[in-house]
Assembly symmetry: C2
Homo-oligomer: 325 residues x 2
């Protein structure tokens, strides 16, 4: 990526905050991590998907970002660790235990370590820092909060915890709305707030993650939205919807069920006046004028990230856009 | 084993209760299980070694007996499951987690399943029954109690939980005494008590397990000792000490540290008037007269169980002895 001149992307001493969910967010976060040093890039992650399962505290979005930044993510599966094995889960199934949530052996070690540290009184931030250090992830990765928040999905089949909706039911129930249990009492992660309040903040990038269940929980942690409004740094989102569909996950299906058009424009509308800029895919260039009309600057880019180069190019584009907004 | 005529070992409708710790007890229990049907043999197991580790409820003695009876025990290691793998623990070590207690991947599945069932409100008896059913263990295997009991070892280096003493410290600290935390409030397992009270009970066999940390916890569950005294069935123990040493484990070392001679005679003395009969090894035949002098019948046998035939022969010998006492 010699074509990207990092010094042109961010001024000396400045820092970037990325807000991320799981897979889609992790792709952009990886691209950013290849351009920005650990001093320049902090990633804050949704923890609304976190849940207790088989006695393990599982943090799917944090882990996806962590595994991706460590280079150990499983690119074939699209989740989990490369070279994973399944001995525990296979045996658990033979014993009559629950196997709907696919836990690999190495992944289980992550959850065992984190759960133990949390039981010992460590914060999720500290546990995440220890895991990142062990996995060689140098960029700061922060949970949105050290307090537990649980995303509940209200559906035509009742209220489901997020992982039951997402994994066990494979997003089949029709969505009626969302609830982030515990969020009113959740304190935002202190380093996240300090960065949002910092004069060194050059940009906030909302990764192309699910707006409803990946980004909204972060935005709804008390204090975060106000800090995003207050910061002088531009807030830029990348549309997770391309050509009316989501690259991965149920975003488009959810939008349809919530009686929203599944379009980049509708995502921009969902984020509303929080945004200073919005990056949409070339496919959706025709929507640029409508979005601009709502007072949000638009950049049209190649947002579908198939290769590492795609990730880095989009990251560079987002940083350039932030500098220009 | 065509030489063993089962009908000569136990009368129709009669039942045998074996009290077992881990490895040594499991060997005799396996031998008994080859001679007696699930209707004829019940095994009650020490749970004082049970502990919570990495959020998992681990029951080493129950598992050793269960794995042994299922034919899946690891004969090379002498503990755990055959064909075990270590992916979780290896990864946990890389992440900075605790690895002193060697948990194999398949073994972890046992603990995950049991821990989950216990969290859901099932008793340890029910969880054990489910695991046994999945593993094809047909003989009833009972925890001594469904209430948690924790063996603490008082040593010259302070008070250690049993697994910290046994596994982490490898029995190096000198023993001063034992404490079974929670035992005063532990209720004996109901089926165990029903069997002890049953007129069908033909014999109680105390397996060659550690008298102090494997058998004593069972005997000290309120009601068990009284029921053992009250039953008309003979109570027969097999000495875990052969030629002054323990076949496996720290029994002899403990006896020395407790200022007891490490001898079969001293084990008989430890059990005291609970015993109707005591089986000692041929090596220790010279002690027979002193034991008999204390009012306990003695049978000299080949008690070192190297092969499956050894286990079955000793089991048959114990049953014949019980019938004769």
């Amino acid at each position: 990526m010699g074509a990207v001149e990092v010094s042109s992307l961010i001024a000396p001493g400045k820092r970037v905050l990325a807000l991320s969910g799981g897979v889609g967010g992790a792709k952009l976060a990886l691209g950013l991590s290849k351009l920005l040093s650990p001093d320049q890039l902090t990633i804050a992650c949704n923890t609304g998907d976190d849940f207790d399962h088989l006695g393990l505290r599982i943090c799917p979005d944090l882990d996806t970002v962590m595994y991706t930044l460590s280079g150990r993510n499983n690119t074939e599966l699209g989740w989990g660790l490369a070279g994973e094995s399944w001995r525990v889960l296979e045996t658990l199934g033979q014993l009559g235990g629950e196997t709907w949530f696919r836990l690999g052996d190495m992944d289980i070690a992550t959850h065992l370590a984190r759960s133990e540290w949390l039981r010992q009184g460590e914060t999720l931030s500290t546990a995440t820092r220890r895991l990142c250090a062990a996995l060689g992830v140098a960029h700061p990765l922060l949970p949105m909060s050290d307090d537990p928040v649980s995303t509940l999905v209200h559906t035509d089949q009742g209220v489901l915890s997020f992982q039951h909706y997402f994994v066990r039911e494979q997003c089949r129930p029709a969505v009626r709305g969302f609830e982030f249990r515990g969020i009113d009492n959740a304190r935002p992660q202190p380093e996240l707030m300090a960065l949002l309040d910092s004069a060194d903040l050059a940009a906030v990038l909302i990764c192309p993650s699910n707006p409803f269940v990946s980004v909204d929980p972060i935005l709804k942690v008390p204090g975060v939205r106000a800090a995003l409004r207050a910061t002088r740094a531009p807030v830029i989102a990348v549309s997770p919807i391309v050509g009316g569909i989501a690259i991965k996950g149920p975003t488009a299906k959810m939008m349809a069920e919530l009686d929203m058009p599944s379009s980049a424009l509708a995502v921009a509308g969902h984020y509303g006046d929080l945004l200073d800029g919005f990056i949409i895919d070339e496919t959706d260039a025709a929507q640029a004028r409508d979005i601009t009309g709502s007072g949000v600057a638009v950049r049209v880019a190649q947002t579908v990230m198939k290769t590492l180069d795609d990730r880095i190019m989009l990251a560079a584009e987002a940083l350039r856009f932030a500098a220009a907004v």
